[in-house]
């Protein structure tokens, strides 16, 4: 029993360390990508090639004054960023990063734990993540925060439906909610043998999933509730210093989560050439695919203008949701008629 416990603790700690570093460097990557798209260089002064920029940003944030607005609900104000960050961190224990590797004579499976209902667990955590935002808006004692918080959370729950229903289409093919199982069924090279994105209705479902996940994580073009020129930065207007950092971390973590899930569900997870002989290539392929999706999200951010809020909600309910439902019907019909 203690063996498994030690293994879990080590894996969890490693994952947390990788995540925190990844979030810091994603901010750097974002600014670099923004620079390249805008035909400039991005941060390159601090450290070699600007690579110590996240460290400088982090230190700056720690030394900022931590203001708690008067007459705000103090405990809710402090709880809200934690309520946003903790579910974002908790999703990573069910995602498979590889098959198994053999280290020090033991076979280690490259996922922390394996649940029968893994995908639903992630969905549940996304649902709980809405509370951080709405409570942050409420507890800040600021009308713009409240409006931003309500709008942001209404947007998140609307696109959560499209997300959930697009997952159902994938489930029709894979027959299991267990992410490890779903990835194992997508074995093969670039896909004719396996990746879900190349199966007939699932290519459209991938696009729906990706757009819904952009909306769910409040990224442009769906970031009206927190854009700088609207509603004064929305639900995190009144937050400064480390609590603001927690919200930003939660946002980038959500981006990493949705990209990881999209690769696990659609792009074959850790599968790729020669992964059977060299299992260490599994996490490498996984990271490459997830990174490609993240960079695409950043690319979209600096290319596409924002949606207005009513356009956003109308798009979510009258376009995304019906298309997701129709996709389910088509997928079920295809599976029934052509087994």
């Amino acid at each position: 029993m203690t063996n498994i416990l030690v293994e879990w603790v080590i894996k969890t700690v490693v994952i947390l360390l990788i995540l925190v570093t990844a979030v810091a460097y994603l901010t750097f990557l974002e600014r670099k990508v923004m620079g390249w798209i805008q035909l400039r260089v991005g941060p390159n002064r601090v450290g070699p090639l600007g690579l110590l920029q996240p460290l400088a940003d982090g230190l700056k944030m720690i030394f900022k004054e931590d203001i708690i607005p008067s007459q705000s609900n103090k405990w809710l104000y402090i709880l809200a960023p934690a309520l946003s960050l903790v579910p974002a961190l908790m999703t990573f224990i069910v995602i498979p990063y590889g098959s198994e590797i053999t280290l020090f004579g033991r076979t280690i499976e490259l996922h922390v734990t394996r649940m029968n209902v893994g995908l639903l667990y992630i969905f549940a955590l996304t649902s709980v993540g809405v509370y951080g935002i709405v409570l942050a808006g409420w507890s800040s004692n600021n009308k713009y925060s409240l409006m931003g918080g309500l709008r942001s959370s209404a947007q998140m729950i609307s696109y959560e439906l499209a997300l959930g229903l697009s997952i159902v289409s994938v489930l029709l093919y894979s027959g299991s909610l267990d992410l490890v199982e779903i990835v194992n069924k997508q074995g093969g090279w670039l896909g004719h043998t396996g990746w879900n994105v190349f199966r007939f209705p699932l290519m459209f479902v991938f696009i729906i999933f990706y757009i819904a996940s952009l909306a769910e994580t409040n990224r442009t073009p769906f970031d009206l509730p927190e854009a700088d020129s609207e509603l004064v930065a929305g639900y995190h207007t009144e937050y400064s210093s480390m609590k603001f950092v927690m919200f930003q971390m939660a946002e980038y973590l959500n981006l990493i989560t949705s990209s990881s899930i999209a690769t696990a569900l659609f792009l074959g997870g850790w599968n790729g050439p020669f992964v059977g002989r060299l299992p260490i290539l599994g996490p490498v392929y996984f990271a490459i695919k997830a990174l490609a999706l993240i960079v695409t999200a950043m690319w979209i951010r600096y290319t596409v203008p924002r949606f207005r809020y009513d356009q956003l909600m109308r798009f979510g309910w009258t376009t995304m949701l019906p298309i997701a439902i129709i996709n389910i019907i088509i997928t079920a019909t295809v599976i029934l008629l052509f087994p």
């Binding site: 209902v117 969905f123 709405v134």
Partner: protein
């Protein structure tokens, strides 16, 4: 192993009871709603101890993630202030409360006593992937044994949609 499971049960049961008490004791309705969320999460953990993994996760998705979001939106929309304790207008009701509470407690004891020696299986029934409580068994029984309630549910949900929209739009906007 058994010690650990007892500890887990006691911890989550205590969390559920304490947060349920907190719902009653808080003045601010938002704090009560948050305590209710904690209660639902503890209940979800208790469902896990009973091998009902699907229900445990669905409890969080639907109950703690959708219904409570609705509650919290309503509390924020209406700007319900913290309640000041009021003087009761009808003193007689106080004396009705005791017999009713007694009936409720008696019912609880009846339920507990009649569960009695009926044991649940100590190992999940059936093969591991298809045990009672997994998604497979829920899916198949939903369409074989419980087909009619399932279809009726769809009509029920439709009624709820129409009803909610009609009720909330009464100003004709």
């Amino acid at each position: 192993m058994e010690k650990a499971s007892t500890i887990i049960f006691i911890v989550f049961a205590a969390a559920a009871v304490l947060s349920a008490l907190n719902i009653l004791l808080q003045r601010n309705p938002l704090y009560s709603a948050l305590s209710l969320i904690v209660t639902l999460l503890s209940l979800s953990a208790l469902y896990l101890t009973l091998h009902a993994e699907f229900i445990a996760v669905i409890q969080i998705v639907v109950y703690a993630g959708a219904i409570m979001v609705l509650f919290i939106f309503v509390i924020m929309l209406l700007n319900v202030p913290a309640v000041q304790p009021q003087i009761e207008k009808q003193k007689g009701l106080r004396y009705l409360a005791i017999p009713f509470a007694g009936i409720l407690i008696a019912e609880t004891f009846y339920v507990v006593l009649s569960i009695g020696k009926r044991t649940m299986p100590s190992v999940p029934v059936g093969t591991e992937a298809q045990a009672v409580g997994t998604t497979w068994s829920i899916g198949t029984s939903l369409f074989t044994d419980y087909l009619l309630p399932f279809e009726v549910t769809s009509v029920l949900i439709l009624m709820a949609v129409v009803g909610a929209m009609v009720l909330a739009r009464r100003e004709g906007d």
